[in-house]
């Protein structure tokens, strides 16, 4: 394929690996935007998801949020923020966080509310308070879905941060936007290749996290029910 050659030629060139426009710098920038956005989104969505899941309220809203979320054009949100508040860290942070919240929120809600009611009954029967039921029973059982939500958000933010280069953001999207402007297919293809590797690395990271955090018994159960 022609563009694979372009990408390889571009990636091979040592110039790409040095300086403020070099691949290492851009990767770090991209990871920085992603990590910050995911952290803030999680800080907001996890508590809310846990609460509404535990009390069983707002389920209808959760499903609707999931639907609307995919409909929102990320390019539109980014552009809207620029026009409203100008260029600053918040210009990209707000859209990335706003768009990163739904997967975590919906999955946390689904994970907690999907816990077998018999288990919750048994826990209360054993004398656990509401808080203890949440922390000791519901949360651990919801962990697989919560992790999945974090994973979806992380991958989504990696992809959206790419588009954000259009409004002047750094990161790996710069290679696509700049390459697009100067018809430098090597730069576009090479940049795209690095983004894909990054996205796959994020997926692998979460697979590893799942091994670490989710108890073996739950993992078995999940595999069996697939």
């Amino acid at each position: 394929m022609g563009f694979l050659n372009f990408a390889w030629d571009w990636l091979k060139s040592p110039a790409q690996w040095h300086g403020p426009d070099g691949i290492p710098v851009r990767v770090l920038q991209h990871l920085g935007y992603t990590a910050l956005s995911v952290l803030i989104a999680a800080a907001i969505a996890l508590p809310v998801g846990l609460l509404i899941g535990h009390y069983g309220r707002g389920g209808f809203t959760a499903v609707n949020i999931a639907n609307i979320w995919r409909a929102i054009p990320t390019l539109g949100l980014l552009i809207l923020l620029v026009v409203l508040i100008g260029f600053s860290a918040f210009t990209w942070l707000i859209p990335l966080v706003a768009l990163g919240i739904p997967p975590i929120l919906v999955n946390t809600y689904e994970g907690v509310s999907g816990v077998d009611p018999d288990l919750k009954d048994a826990a209360r029967g054993m004398g656990m308070t509401q808080w203890q039921v949440l922390w000791k029973v519901e949360l651990p059982l919801a962990v697989p879905l919560i992790l999945l939500g974090l994973q979806v958000t992380a991958i989504f933010v990696v992809a959206t941060a790419t588009i954000a280069a259009y409004i002047g953001l750094g990161g790996l999207g710069r290679y696509i936007i700049d390459g697009l402007a100067s018809n430098n297919y090597g730069e576009v293809a090479g940049g795209a290749a690095v983004i894909v590797v990054l996205a796959l690395a994020v997926q692998v990271l979460f697979v590893g996290l799942r091994r670490l955090v989710v108890p073996a018994g739950l993992r078995q159960q999940a595999r069996a029910s697939k």
């Binding site: 999931a66 054009p73 390019l75 991958i155 588009i163 297919y185 795209a192 983004i195 796959l200 997926q203």
Partner: protein, 227 residues
Amino acid sequence: MVWSWIPQNWTSIWQYTLDNLLLGLLPPIIGLIVSVPVGIACVLWGWLYPPVLSLSSAIYALPSLALFVVLIDYTGLGNLTVIIPLTLFSLCILIPAVVDGLRSVPESVRQAATAMGFTPVRRLVQVELPLAVPVIIAGLRIAVVSSISLASVGQLIGVPSLGYFLIDGFQRDFPTEIYLGIALIIALALICDVILVSVRRLLTPWLRGRQVSAGPIRVLPITAGRM
């Protein structure tokens, strides 16, 4: 927000909406047509599915803008340059949906069908596929909504869609256009979503009256198969 701008530009608003609708509907439909046989194959020959799934995950991670630009060299500046990547993304959503849907058919149903004399192929097409419809349509909904939204990115290479209002509004510092673009894209996506829910009701009369949940959000938007 300059409300008067909307009736003044009704012609171009309508044109771009139709453009976006085309780019948002054609890929999922083509994806559906391709994914049903592919999904059936993955169910009949189970060893096919893991590599197909891995390939899907990898493709789904590709940034849409990069795919669009790379294709310009091969397919020029027309709609095809946007339609092909969006179709690929739809395939990544729909093949797992078809497989999940077929696999969600209870074993008892399959066995009963075999007992009634259905051959494997007839059973697949006349029994299992219809029962898989809710899951497949759930996947189709996601594919349609995503395509309608992603089509706007195509405007960055001049392929017309409602994204035009986003970019022009940006270049002219004109929020009215941006609000309009975002609102129309979301509205278009939600209308198509509602229509697909109605289609599902039409096609699955035995499910009427029962709630179908969308389930949690997955890496590849495979539904949980809950009915």
